[in-house]
């Protein structure tokens, strides 16, 4: 019960901070609402970008996924950080110089086409909405698991909080709350990581602990490899994986990161071109702190978990083991009735024969990967307040990402659809009202969808990157680096890239026709966005060169965005 008091207290405190920040940073104009007035410092924008970027999944699930996938988990680590290099070098500075509010703004003006703008709006809405639904669901899960409130009530609380600061402050409110949320989430991630690193390797820095030694002098990673092979699993660092697919997935995540509207739009909020470059660097520093810690947590927790539990009598299992059994994240089924916990790979036929000879009757322990982050504090015997901190951190991660996405949705509606298309004569005041109303509606709809997610949502979130990579990335980069690419080329490229990627995903992942043996070149649906991107590139260039060049004023515009100041 003491944990609950700490958890309630810390969550309430952080929420009070977010609301306070929101009141302080109320938006007064559309420019403040869409891009925080363009006056955010590169450091603050870097932090806000990091919070915007790191979702509930990064915070709660990523270390667990790596823990159970080993070397191939690197695709997420490299994929979700490497995109920032592309952003800083190929996109952010030029889009900042272009100086409008949204990604569809750029696509629409660069390709002098309302159709291109509308396609971009639809893509932005689709990607952002599915992603936002996942976050609202994450908020509900965090509340339900830790605060013993109903899942629906948890989502409801999330809706109220996000609505409060997003509707009031727009991008300005969201930016400064994200700064606060980043501080909460990184503190919450690092405290248990530092303690568990000390506990396992004697080194307080998880990044060094991962390459460090255990108390008995063995290298940690060698020991974990050993534990894995002893139990019939592949060694943790084994490179015996489909590396072609790994290549494609990594690339799709990188290209997708650089094409996601809610990330790109953050670079419209800084004052100057040079700030946009620097800000991308800060953002990656803040992200890298978490992303280089995650693989360490993955290894510490897994080594700890297996060595404290495997082969031990159930009656002597540590307290946290029985505690987490109640949540269903761990489950023990004593198949051979010997009272001991036996964990091994019962999918490995050779090992199974050996295990049967020793009187084992199948793997008895099932572990949900999410436990790696959640149970960390208890595994390292940390005080109750640390658990409260992890909950507050998980909520900060979910709320900050949700808010960033909802802003893209509302801007797409009030700016790209209303102001730039349906009702160009709308006044500034009414446009601001439209923005506030659309963000309110978006919060509520995504909350409701989060409570009752349509079947496709969970699957699609994972593919949002591929879709962004196959649609936005080439259109934006070519729009900057070539003044020859024209409307016809870009439109054809976006449509082909998107249609190809979406149908591959639909065919294999959503409808479930065909298995891995049918994949083209062994590329899984998660990595297909890379191929879609290449296809988009080829089609764009091909069509461009058989159709007339863009008008002179577009060429001039491209020349102008290439220099910070004429």
């Amino acid at each position: 019960m003491i944990e609950n008091i700490w958890t309630y207290g810390l969550v309430a405190l952080t929420f009070a901070i977010y609301i306070g920040v929101a009141i302080w940073s109320k938006a007064g104009s559309t420019k403040e609402f869409y891009v925080a007035g363009g006056g955010v410092s590169p450091l603050a924008n870097g932090m806000a970008t990091a919070a915007d970027w790191m979702s509930a999944a990064s915070f709660l699930s990523m270390a667990g996924i790596i823990s159970f996938s080993g070397y191939i988990g690197s695709q997420y680590l490299m994929g979700w950080t490497g995109g920032y290099v592309l952003l800083a070098l190929l996109l952010a500075p030029y889009l900042r110089k272009f100086g409008k509010f949204t990604v569809p703004d750029f696509i629409g003006e660069r390709y002098y086409s309302q159709t291109a703008r509308v396609i971009a709006v639809i893509c932005a809405l689709f990607v952002s909405f599915t992603y936002a639904v996942g976050q609202m669901k994450g908020v509900g899960v965090a509340f339900a698991r830790f605060l013993e409130v109903k899942f629906e009530v948890g989502v409801g609380i999330g809706i109220v909080i996000v609505m409060f600061y997003a509707v009031l402050g727009g991008m300005k409110g969201i930016t400064y709350t994200q700064v606060a949320q980043y501080c909460v989430l990184i503190f919450a991630y690092l405290v248990p990581a530092i303690f568990i690193s000390l506990f396992v390797t004697g080194n307080p820095l998880p990044q060094l602990g991962l390459g460090g030694k255990l108390a008995d002098g063995a290298w940690l990673l060698d020991r974990l490899d050993q534990i894995h092979t002893d139990l019939g699993f592949k060694a943790y660092t084994s490179t015996d994986v489909n590396r072609i697919d790994m290549f494609f997935v990594t690339a799709a995540l990188m290209l997708g990161t650089a094409g996601l509207p809610h990330v790109i739009v953050r670079f419209f909020t800084v004052p100057r071109v040079k700030d946009a470059r620097k800000s991308a660097g800060y953002a990656l520093v803040f992200i890298a702190i978490l992303y280089t810690t995650a693989p360490a947590i993955a290894v510490f927790a897994k080594t700890n978990l297996i060595s404290e539990v495997e082969g031990k009598p159930y009656s002597e299992a540590p307290n946290w083991f029985t505690d987490w059994e109640h949540t269903g994240l761990l489950s023990f089924n004593d198949l051979n009735q010997d009272g001991k916990i036996q964990y091994y790979n019962d999918q490995n036929p050779q090992y199974v024969r050996k295990a049967e000879a020793q009187g084992l009757n199948g793997n008895e322990l099932t572990i949900d990967p999410d436990i790696i982050v959640l149970a960390n504090p208890e595994m390292a015997s940390l005080p109750a307040w640390v658990i409260g901190l992890v909950v507050a951190g998980g909520l900060a991660a979910a709320l900050s990402t949700a808010a960033g996405l909802l802003l893209v949705i509302s801007t797409s509606i009030s700016h790209d659809l209303l102001k730039k298309w349906l009702k160009p004569d709308i006044t500034e005041k009414n446009e601001l009202w439209a923005a506030r109303i659309s963000i309110m509606v978006a919060v509520i709809i995504s909350g409701i969808a989060g409570i009752n997610p349509p079947g496709f949502v969970a699957e699609v979130v994972a593919f949002a990157f591929g879709l962004a990579a196959a649609s936005f990335f080439p259109a934006i980069v070519l729009g900057i680096f070539s003044s020859r690419v024209n409307k016809e080329g870009a439109l054809a490229g976006m449509v082909v890239g998107l249609a190809f990627t979406a149908s591959y995903i639909l065919y294999f992942a959503v409808l479930g026709y065909g298995g891995p043996e049918d994949y083209w070149f062994g590329i899984s649906p998660k990595g297909i966005g890379t191929l879609g991107m290449l296809l988009n590139l080829v089609v764009t260039l091909l069509i461009t060169y058989i159709t007339p060049a863009p008008p002179e004023d577009i060429k001039t515009m491209v020349q102008r965005i290439r220099v910070p100041k004429e």
Partner: protein, 85 residues
């Protein structure tokens, strides 16, 4: 249209991009995926080198790449007098 020296500015920028993006590609896709087995023969403390690049090293180098680009471009902006301050 751009003044002639601004064309030169763009050319130099493209050279920087080419070099830095090659590094970006080599440390992640190269060291982390394509040549991981060869690099894993070498050790860095408790890490196999290929594994280190895939889970740690590439990320540190990504950060470095961005800040080197920031520094190079600030210098280039001043050289061609297109800096904003």
């Amino acid at each position: 249209m751009l003044k002639p020296d601004q064309k030169q500015y763009w050319k130099e920028n493209l050279t920087y991009l080419l070099i830095l993006l090659s590094v970006w590609f080599i440390v992640s896709f190269g060291f982390g995926i394509i040549w991981v087995e060869e690099l894993n023969q070498i050790r860095l403390g408790g890490y196999k080198l290929g594994f280190w690049f895939a889970q740690q090293g590439s990320i540190y180098i990504f950060v470095l790449i961005i800040f080197i680009y920031v520094w190079l471009m600030n210098r280039l902006d001043r050289k061609y007098q297109v800096n904003e301050d």
